[in-house]
């Protein structure tokens, strides 16, 4: 029981950056731009907020700086992928490389360190104690004692759903993603909608990065996102591009990560658990495609049947 509590507690903590990145990626994907640059944007968020917290001493300014970094990178992404019609997958790869290389460069030139950066005197995010609620069996200890970002992840998920399904912008966004030609014909400024979606994606993803460098630890390691951006990608594909299921998928993958760390101490190979999110996604996509094909075939058969029975002369 105690084991389960601590694993689920860790799962919530570890799924948080994935939830943010998955929601961000979902928004970009919804607008029709696949953004694998979320890996790099998350890394940038983690780095910038730590530097900002160190320089200013304010966590608010740190969060603001991370969000701004995410926005700037997203504008660059949008400029290339939307305005200059570059292939978004390639731009995403380039953005990830640029961020990783740029951070390593900055660390070495300005902070004279390589690999990791741990400035002294930075206080990380506070852990919120839920007070009397923490006494509730199981749920209390699982939910209590997290950084504000963990709780804010839920708010962000609801906000994402509201934006996508209850605002005009969300309608435009989905139209731009599903039928860009029709959306353009209907007078929707598709490039502008996509750019805005990407910026939103960048800000949310970068905020998620804060959890890595000011939440779990107060330091930055090169490559500390270690594929979380791609797990986020897997999460929203597994969640079939719906905010609710996406958050659930991100939670599941966070649970895998927590489980893997726990199993490591028992000597179980962690690498095999690491493959799970990716295998699940390939499997899900295949099942969806297979079902789509089956439905298509059934329609075709039904149409043929109707033609045979209704057509004159038969």
């Amino acid at each position: 029981m105690n084991d389960l509590v601590s694993v689920v507690h860790a799962a919530l903590r570890m799924s948080t950056p994935i939830v943010y990145a998955a929601l961000g990626g979902l928004i970009a994907e919804g607008a029709g731009v696949v953004n694998i640059g979320i890996e790099g944007i998350m890394l940038a968020g983690a780095f910038v907020c730590l530097v900002a917290a160190w320089l200013s001493g304010s966590l608010w300014l740190a969060a603001l700086a991370a969000g701004a970094a995410g926005a700037v990178l997203s504008v660059l992404f949008a400029l290339l992928a939307v305005r200059m019609r570059a292939n978004p997958v390639v731009v995403g790869l380039g953005l990830n490389g640029l961020v990783a290389g740029g951070i390593a460069y900055i660390m070495q030139v300005y902070f004279k360190v390589r690999g990791a950066f741990a400035p002294p005197g930075v206080t990380g995010l506070p852990r919120w104690d839920l007070g009397p609620l923490a006494k509730v069996p199981f749920l209390g200890p699982v939910l209590s004692g997290h950084t504000p970002l963990v709780y804010l992840a839920g708010v962000t998920a609801v906000a994402t759903w509201l934006i996508l399904y209850r605002t005009r912008f969300g309608l435009w966004l989905r139209a731009a993603g599903e039928e860009p030609e029709a959306a353009r014909a209907a007078g929707i400024p598709v490039p502008r909608v996509q750019t805005l979606a990407l910026v939103l994606c960048g800000v949310i993803t970068a905020i998620g990065g804060i959890q890595l460098s000011l939440g779990d630890l107060t330091r930055f390691n090169e490559g500390m996102t270690s594929g979380r951006g791609f797990i986020a990608l897997a999460a929203y594909y597994f969640g079939q591009r719906q905010p609710g299921p996406t958050v659930a998928a991100a939670g599941l993958f966070g649970f895998f990560q927590a489980l893997q760390i726990r199993l490591q101490s028992t000597g179980y190979p962690p690498q095999l658990v690491q493959t799970l999110p990716y295998l699940i996604v390939v499997l899900t996509l295949s099942l969806i495609a297979w079902r789509r094909l089956a439905i298509q075939r059934r329609w075709q058969r039904a149409a043929l049947q109707r033609y045979r029975t209704d057509a004159p002369g038969h």
Partner: protein
Amino acid sequence: MAEPTASPPAPSPSHWRTQLALATAWSTGVTFAGALALTALVLWLTGQPVFGTFALMLRTALGSKVGLADTLLQATPLILCGLACAVSFRAGVFNVGVEGALYLGAFAAAWTGFTFVGLGRLPLIAACLVAAAVVGALWLAVPAALKAYLDVDEVVSTLMLNYVALSVTSYLVNYPFRAPGLANSMSPAVAEQARLTRLLPPSQLNASLILALLLTLAVAWMFGRTRLGVSIRTLGNNPRFARVMGIPVPRLMVLTMLLSGAIGGLAGGSQVLGVNYRFIDGFSPGWGFDGITITLLARHNPWGILVTALVFGMLRNGGGMIQVFSKVPISIVDILQAAVILLVTAQVAVPSLRRATS
């Protein structure tokens, strides 16, 4: 009586080929110049020597026999990965799974090399390379079939499978095949006779460069002179036309991805047999992804891939040295390379031609 004016001769196919080659060279040059300018800006803004850095890189990468050999050494996996990506990209299949095929191919070569130690030199090397190619091809067979028969997006499936390949090989060399007595996670070493000949001894440059050159020739011949190549190009240029022409589209898609996986597997295998002599956990610095950039820059032209891979190899080799001889971090090369990737598919240079490749 006026003589009938001779109409200008109709442009020959070779004329168009020259034009296309020039356009490719031009846009590749523009992309590269843009990336160099951005890198120079970064250096200048952060108070580092701009020309000094580039000059140092060029001097170390090309200035000596060893430097040149190391440049070729760095270029070898890049040539192979560029070709691997080109084969499927040219057919319009956006396969980003070469990195995964590279890892599994490398492991297959290493396993063959440390298991069948009783074989002679040539049979063992051949067996290792065949194993690498076959395993690489089989690895991409799954996303290939999913793409061809179920229309599952190959970008997502191959991207995801890269991470599976990385984890699976990492598991293999950490648990069942871990070399005893070594601190790092790596497989046992391959047999002496499986190791490829070094070409210029102080450098690790080895016979896999020859393999890369032969494959460049083979892919160029395949694209230009065979039915398969014409079918691939037709499919890449216009899938609907290809279908109407009676080209078996799903089967061809699978075939191109199998070829791509085989070449990617060879890239990994040749690194094991030529440089590392064993499988090392996470040994690739992203060659499979660099292959994407290289083939896009070269517009899937094998000879263009050769040239582009050499330039990238030069950057990698020169970058390694600037860290030693100046205060400029090696990550400036990552920045330069990322700038190339960011710009490579952007429609800046020759818009009318861009559409065909993206």
